[in-house]
């Protein structure tokens, strides 16, 4: 019964999202603004309905209702409760439902956020967003219905893919979708601006919190996914440049660019048309990502062949929204009042450079991801574009981008002074160079890029610290040397200044973590109990191999002791191979020993008849910094979100920093 009600709620949500789309149009036609109120109610109602449907599906999973196809295919009575819940979105239908749940959640948030945005802009935004919900709900109901029943109901389910039975899966998709789908709001705002033919700093201020929160979630989601792949797939890589990962990276890069260009628009009333285009492109890339992951075009062309409706439907959605929004852009963008041009050497100039490099980097990822698909379609040749391609395109574009980050911070709005900025950054540059050289002196063995990366990361972190210190100390007449005054001013700095500093420093931390992988070590051996394997500065001894039993699997576990080269014990690691009888599938559970920010990573291979095991061991110096840095970045974003200007949606009064909405262009 609950299952049918859930199905019905989905249909109701479909109808409500149609109302959500139609009402702003009707309001504009009839000139009756009260009709817009219905849009807000419809958005809230659609969210409530989808939430109910999602709860109904979760109920079916938790109670192991095997009369539902989706539960049969992805659940098992023996499965732990947390995986029964996370299994709801561990499959195609459920994850699409989660997608729409988050989509309507954002719609409901916009509808509920009453104070900040002009009602007309808000209603039009919700209208566009309602159309997105409508189309995706239609997709779920017609091609991917999670509530399909099975008659007769089997006694036991097929269980969830063991690779997905992991706490990482419980968190990763919701975070990622909050990011992916959050950009739909920026997109809807852009489309609404185009429809109104009007865009200004108020628009920029309205859209920025949404972009920023989506960006934070996407950052965390990508980091979580990367860590999950790192420990679950058992070979110690943290990023594979694989199409499914690139699908989430592309909207992230475009979203980062959007975040920066929105700042320029808010402060300087420039880059308007570009910002609108970026907002459209960012969500378009989210849709492309959904297409890549969900249509099955990558995993297998057969999913197209056996169930062409799904792939074709998503392709249709792509064409509708990307084509539609770009057509709208081409038609309406010339009507938007252009912002002013500005001096190349200025904060906004450096932000333009930031956007250029980010978009170029995004384009290389796009080409590398989609070119193999295109080539196969055209010529039938199957190629793989792997890490070497991305390393030689993405990295050279990322390095100049990172170099200009502190420079942009050091330049003033309108007219910057490059010489003064260089002087201010001299300290950071010198320290970074020293850091790189020191590292080189101690570890000369690794690749030449590694010390460069360490220096670059140090430069970013020091640059962020200097920015805060510099601003707290003040310039010109306000300059002070008293430590107490500096501390007081530092605390009084706008939260967004702190957020920026944190986010940029977080990038530096990630860069250091990545660079340190240049000194990673690995070893491979067949070991009998008592045998040892050396990797990097550590020696692992195999203590024993023993079988164990879990709730829905059997496991062969290998127990290792890690010692340093001097023979002192550092810690113990266990790694295992789990066999899941319900899926006849074996999964390697890697073992991790964290030493500071570094890790020793053990992965168990075949257990031979003579009791010898295959063991692969990695030493990953400072590897945790990669994900901790991402957390710091997201923290910075969150800090910015709490900034007063974000909440009030009006320029700050007292500080006199933010320019008024009617900021005059530079000329």
């Amino acid at each position: 019964m609950i299952v049918e009600t859930g199905h019905f709620a989905l249909a109701l949500a479909l109808a409500l999202s149609l109302v959500q789309t139609a009402m702003p149009i009707w309001a504009a036609r009839s000139g009756d603004p009260t009709l817009r109120q219905a849009t807000f109610q419809a958005a809230l109602g659609a969210f409530a309905c989808v939430l109910f449907a999602f709860a109904a599906l979760t109920w079916a999973h938790v109670t192991s209702d095997f009369s539902v196809q989706n539960v049969v295919e992805n659940s098992h009575t023996q499965k732990p409760l947390i995986y029964k819940i996370s299994g709801v979105w561990g499959n195609h239908e459920g994850s699409m439902l989660l997608w729409v749940l988050i989509l309507t959640l954002f719609g409901a948030c916009v509808a509920a956020a009453r104070n900040s945005v002009p009602p007309r802009l808000r209603a039009n935004t919700l209208g566009v967003q309602g159309l997105v919900s409508f189309v995706f709900l239609l997709f779920i109901i017609t091609t991917s219905n999670p509530f399909t029943r099975v008659v007769p109901a089997p006694l036991e389910g097929r269980d969830l893919n063991p690779l997905l039975q992991d706490p990482g899966l419980a968190i990763h998709p919701p975070l990622l979708y909050l990011g992916y789908v959050g950009f739909s709001i920026s997109f809807a705002f852009a489309a609404a601006a185009l429809i109104e033919g009007r865009i200004d700093a108020v628009w920029a201020r309205a859209v920025r919190p949404w972009t920023l929160s989506a960006w934070c979630f996407l950052t965390l989601g990508i980091a979580m996914g990367s860590y999950w792949a790192y420990y679950e797939l058992g070979w110690g890589g943290w990023w594979f440049w694989d199409p499914v990962e690139n699908a989430s990276l592309m909207p992230w890069i475009a979203g980062t660019a959007l975040l920066h260009s929105t700042v320029v628009m808010e402060k300087r009333d420039a880059l308007k048309v570009w910002t609108v285009l970026l907002a459209i492109l960012t969500f378009s890339l989210s849709l492309v990502g959904t297409f890549i992951v969900r249509s099955g075009v990558l995993t297998s062309v057969h999913s197209f062949a056996t169930d062409p409706t799904r792939g074709v439907f998503i392709l249709g959605i792509l064409v509708l929204f990307i084509g539609g929004s770009l057509a709208l852009f081409a038609w309406r963008a010339p009507l938007l009042r252009q912002g002013g041009l500005f001096a190349p050497i200025s904060r906004e100039g450096s932000l333009v450079l930031n956007n250029l490099f980010l978009v170029a980097a995004c384009a290389t990822v796009f080409v590398g991801t989609l070119y193999p698909l295109l080539l196969e379609m055209l010529t039938g040749d199957k190629i793989t574009v792997g890490p070497p391609f991305f390393n030689s395109t993405f990295v050279p574009l990322a390095i100049p981008l990172l170099l200009i980050v502190p420079f942009g911070q050091a330049l003033a709005w309108k007219r910057g002074d490059l010489h003064a900025a260089t002087q201010r950054l001299f300290f950071a540059l010198a320290l970074a160079l020293a850091a790189g050289l020191t590292v080189l002196a101690f570890h000369s063995g690794g690749p030449w890029m590694a010390p460069v990366g360490i220096g670059l990361g140090a430069y970013l972190i020091i640059g962020s610290v200097l920015e805060i210190v510099g601003r707290a100390r003040g310039y010109g007449a306000r300059r002070t040397r008293a430590a107490g005054e500096i501390a007081r001013r530092a605390i009084g700095l706008p939260r967004s200044a702190w957020g920026t500093a944190f986010a940029h420093a977080g990038v530096g931390v990630v860069v250091i973590g990545i660079a340190a992988q240049g000194w990673a070590g690995e070893g491979l051996a067949s070991l009998n109990p008592g045998g040892t394997l050396t990797v990097g500065p550590y020696v692992a001894t195999l203590d024993s191999v023993a079988p164990r039993k879990g709730p829905n699997y059997e496991e062969a576990g290998a127990f290792l002791t890690i010692r340093n080269r001097e023979g002192d014990e550092i810690g113990k690691v266990e790694t295992g191979r789990r066999f899941y009888p319900s899926r006849q599938m074996t999964v390697t559970e890697s073992g991790l020993l964290t030493i500071g920010a570094s890790q020793v990573y053990a992965s168990l291979g075949e257990v031979g008849k003579d009791g010898a095991i295959g063991l692969r061991l990695y030493y990953k110096p400072l590897v945790l910094l990669i994900w901790l840095g991402a957390v710091v970045m997201a923290l910075g974003g969150g800090l910015s979100l709490t900034d007063r200007r974000m909440r009030v949606g009006a320029p700050a009064k007292a500080k006199g920093r933010a320019l008024p909405a009617s900021a005059v262009p530079a000329e």
């Binding site: 295919e73 499959n91 459920g94 994850s95 690779l163 997905l164 899966l169 998709p173 990622l176 992916y180 996914g225 990367s226 792949a229 797939l233 058992g234 070979w235 594979f240 694989d242 199409p243 499914v244 990962e245 699908a247 990502g289 992951v293 099955g296 990558l298 995993t299 297998s300 062309v301 057969h302 999913s303 062949a305 056996t306 799904r310 041009l341 500005f342 190349p344 450079l353 250029l356 490099f357 170029a360 290389t364 590398g368 199957k382 190629i383 793989t384 391609f389 030689s392 395109t393 050279p396 574009l397 491979l524 051996a525 067949s526 191979r577 899926r583 999964v587 390697t588 075949e606 295959g614």
Partner: protein, 171 residues
């Protein structure tokens, strides 16, 4: 600075970054892409040894031999031709004789293949796409047959999982 000059600088900056990106892409495309070949294609086409390839097919029954120190020999076949593969490392969890596999590595003289990466499927009902296509060419694949039905089996959560081929082993 005149308006015209500013616009010029902006256009120049856009142009040079764009040119840099295009240059990098073209440069990387020429050097770092890897072609997928089936054993029959390797037999038929004279591919110079030393070429980096992806070899895909089925692991021939009875061909798996484990040597000392995790050295592994097996043969990949598409029922038209067979290529011997040598690999040092841990095999992925779902590597089995008679099952689909993709190996990436270098072709050596005498059409032997030295793999540094071996990828197997990540789910029992899923066949690597390239392998399925290659077998189809040899007429050994039935649509919707016992090995078929891969749809909907992608690791759903997966926006950044192992992607196309799930678990892998790398040397």
């Amino acid at each position: 600075m005149t308006r015209k000059k500013r616009r010029l600088i902006l256009i120049a900056a856009c142009g040079s970054v764009l040119a840099l990106a295009v240059g990098l892409i073209l440069f990387a495309m020429s050097g770092s892409i890897v072609f997928f070949k089936s054993p029959s294609e390797i037999e038929a086409q004279a591919i110079p040894s030393g070429t980096r390839l992806r070899l895909g097919g089925l692991v021939q029954d009875g061909s798996l031999k484990r040597g000392p120190d995790q050295t592994i020999d097996f043969a990949v076949t598409d029922h038209g031709a067979t290529i011997a593969v040598q690999y040092k490392g841990l095999l992925p969890d779902l590597f089995r004789e008679g099952q689909g596999v993709v190996a990436e590595g270098v072709l050596e003289p005498g059409n032997r293949f030295r793999a540094d990466t071996v990828l197997a499927k990540h789910d029992e009902s899923y066949m690597p796409r390239e392998v399925a296509d290659a077998l189809k060419k040899q007429g050994r694949w039935q649509e919707g047959g016992p090995q078929g039905g891969p749809q909907g089996q992608a690791p759903a959560a997966s926006a950044s999982a192992g992607g196309t081929l799930g678990p892998r082993s790398e040397r």
